[in-house]
């Protein structure tokens, strides 16, 4: 048996629904239809009355999730695409994210964001907007890169008492497969050494982890050993693991699929530069998407975001420094 990243997300939701009567799912077309990506396939049938189709009302979807959480439930909200969460933005950053701080009443909601670029999807179905959520206090922002993490972290997200923005990469939905689902998970907030190495650290998250691993593979043939750190969650961001890796390699390249200004790569570089300055043998580098909306055409899209090719070029440059 083999299971995709997308199926793992479905299975995690099935398990959450089965294990905890407080869990329900709310989003556009998530019911009988099973969701635009089929992440909730059959769940409405298996859990009658607990998977609700919402109107096209992202603000009210999130608002209702907060209210339900206050009243004892653990809602999972599916945004049809991460890009549409901008119209539910206020309820996420000002209602959900501030509730605990203001009242000491927790807000256990999960907002699932199918995010990231796929070929031909264009400016409004491709965005990686983890940074706008990570910027606000009061939110946990998860960015699983593997099938195992998609499953384990989603279960953790549901179990957490805080609002979680769960960024699931659409490119990985079908492209990534595992043999089986994990029975245990690394704790939230801990990064993972996806590949060990001693010459250079590449810090990445979500789909970019796989580009980084491809680069590590490629450069291994040139006797360069790259260590790949998968952040897993970008908030909290596991500075310790990153720093320990940089302590080993002396070189840092941070890669993100998002826009350059103030994204995950900025945060990682700022932390390493300020807290691990002495560990660096060369200037830390970062690689992001270009500072334009995500282009529709595959030719442009391929040049817009980092790829194994551009990451390898950056890594080679950094190794020469």
């Amino acid at each position: 048996m083999s299971i995709t990243y997308l199926e793992a997300i479905r299975e995690a939701q099935a398990k959450a629904l089965a294990d905890d009567p407080r869990v329900f799912i709310y989003g556009q077309d998530v019911g009988a239809f099973g969701g635009a990506f089929k992440a909730t396939k059959n769940l409405a049938k298996e859990f009658p009355g607990r998977v609700l189709d919402s109107p096209i009302s992202e603000d009210a979807m999130v608002g209702a999730a907060v209210g339900a959480a206050i009243a004892g439930m653990r809602p999972i909200i599916e945004m049809q695409f991460a890009d549409f969460s901008t119209v539910g933005f206020n309820q996420i950053v000002n209602q959900a994210a501030t509730l605990f701080w203001r009242t000491q009443v927790a807000c256990p909601i999960v907002v699932r964001l199918p995010f990231g670029g796929t070929s031909g999807a264009g400016p409004f179905h491709s965005q990686s907007i983890e940074a706008i959520y990570a910027h606000y206090p009061g939110l946990v922002v998860m960015t699983p890169a593997t099938v195992e993490d998609a499953y384990g972290m989603l279960l953790e997200a549901v179990a957490l008492d805080d609002p979680v923005i769960f960024c699931e990469h659409k490119y990985l939905y079908y492209h990534l497969k595992a043999e089986q689902l994990p029975t245990e998970a690394m704790p939230t907030g801990k990064a993972r050494i996806a590949r060990a190495g001693r010459d250079l650290t590449i810090v990445a998250y979500s789909a970019m982890v796989h580009e980084a691993l491809a680069v590590a593979e490629e450069l291994a043939t040139e006797k360069v050993e790259i260590e790949v750190v998968d952040l897993r969650s970008v908030k909290p961001l596991d500075t310790d693991t990153v720093m320990a890796s940089v302590a080993r390699t002396g070189r840092l390249l941070c890669v993100g699929e998002s826009w350059p200004w103030g994204g995950v790569t900025a945060e990682v570089l700022a932390r390493v530069a300020s807290e691990g300055f002495g560990l660096l043998d060369a200037p830390p580098m970062r690689l992001n998407a270009k500072d334009t909306p995500v282009p529709y055409h595959p030719n442009l899209w391929a040049a817009h975001r980092p790829t194994a090719r551009s990451i390898a070029a950056a890594a080679r440059k950094l190794l020469r420094m």
């Binding site: 329900f24 009210a60 608002g63 339900a68 206020n90 309820q91 209602q95 701080w101 009242t103 805080d162």
Partner: protein, 342 residues
């Protein structure tokens, strides 16, 4: 419950018109005098942040609070001191929040009209207008999931807030889910300085109710008896499974937007119109006319209320302010996930 303190006549039975009216009146009076106290403290520089009064809206607001029961969900807005107290909020909570006591429900993290106790069904408003209604919806959905007995959710807002997308999405959501939600729009003719002609283009906001699948009710909201009747009926209908209810209340804001505002822009014609009559005065006249209370009794009630407020304020003024060194600066309940950034 704050009002219980004031309304302790041994034989009170609020299902009798007189007792219900008196209870409501005393709630209005408490809210009015408490508001005025905060206004005074504000002018004396003793309050940080804005002070927004419910002057002229107490009859409506108290009716909302009184119609609710423990277990219900209430989302008051900035002019709902009366509704809050009637729903069970203590004067102490109010005073502590306005005066920045560390012992208040928000512990200095948030203030003034932003206070609430979500666990007790009193939602703490965020400032973004319209945003609380869907939160009430969610709580009602949760009650349905949890098969709690017939609870009601009630959200108050001004006519200006009906222009927000959040209002619309939440109204529609409540309609689709057939929730026991009551939405009360206090059309006090102004949103800050903006008159209704710049806010909406329908003859009456009641025209909106059907479009959301809500039953619609209108009330001239300086008339306490009318408010008790209309709001009470709307809440009872929602509780009885009659679906979402929309109450449009017609009134006039008898104060500035906040205490920093002199409200010079309010049309004098409105002030002198029937709309401009003070609901508290009208209620007093009603009490006297019906011989439900004598003038001396009114004086006594007022005195008792002032005393209660003064005592609470005096107590709160001795309470400590929040101390940043004891603040844990944690926006997450999962302490293990906090970051140590600077």
């Amino acid at each position: 419950m704050a009002l219980a303190v004031l309304h302790r006549e041994s034989d009170a039975d609020v299902s009798r018109p007189r007792d219900g009216f008196v209870k409501a009146y005393r709630g209005m009076l408490l809210a009015r005098l408490l508001d005025e106290k905060f206004a005074t403290l504000y002018r004396a520089g003793k309050i940080q942040g804005g002070v927004f009064l419910g002057r002229g809206q107490e009859a409506l607001s108290v009716s909302a609070g009184l119609a609710l029961r423990p277990g219900d969900v209430f989302a008051p807005l900035i002019r709902d001191a009366a509704g809050r107290l009637a729903f069970g909020e203590s004067v102490l909570d109010a005073a502590r929040t306005f005066l920045g006591s560390a012992l208040g429900p928000m512990r200095g993290r948030d203030g003034n009209i932003h206070r609430g106790r979500p666990r007790e069904g009193l939602l703490p408003m965020i400032s973004h207008l319209g945003a609380m209604i869907s939160v009430v919806n969610g709580a009602l959905l949760a009650h349905r999931f949890r098969k709690l007995p017939a609870t009601v959710g009630l959200a108050c807002l001004g006519e200006g807030a009906t222009s927000t997308g959040a209002f619309h999405e939440a109204m529609n959501q409540a309609g689709v889910e057939k929730l026991p939600l009551v939405v009360i729009v206090a059309n006090n003719q102004y949103a800050y300085s903006t008159p209704t002609v710049r806010q909406f283009a329908c003859r009456s906001l009641l025209d909106r109710a059907a479009g959301y699948g809500f039953a619609g009710h209108a009330v001239e909201a300086n008339d306490l008896a009318a408010c008790l009747q209309v709001v009470g009926q709307a809440v009872a209908t929602a509780r009885g499974g009659g679906g979402p209810q929309f109450v449009l209340a017609n009134l006039l804001r008898l104060c500035g937007h906040g205490e920093h505002d002199d409200a010079h822009y309010i049309d004098p014609g409105l002030k002198s119109s029937p709309l401009g009559r003070d609901c508290l005065k009208l209620a007093e006249e009603h009490l006297l006319r019906q011989q439900w209370a004598a003038a001396a009794e009114l004086e006594t009630w007022r005195g008792e209320t002032v005393k209660l407020i003064e005592e609470v304020i005096a107590q709160v003024q001795r309470e400590p302010a929040p101390d940043p060194y004891h603040e844990d600066w944690s926006a997450l309940s999962s302490r293990n996930l906090l970051e140590g950034q600077a």
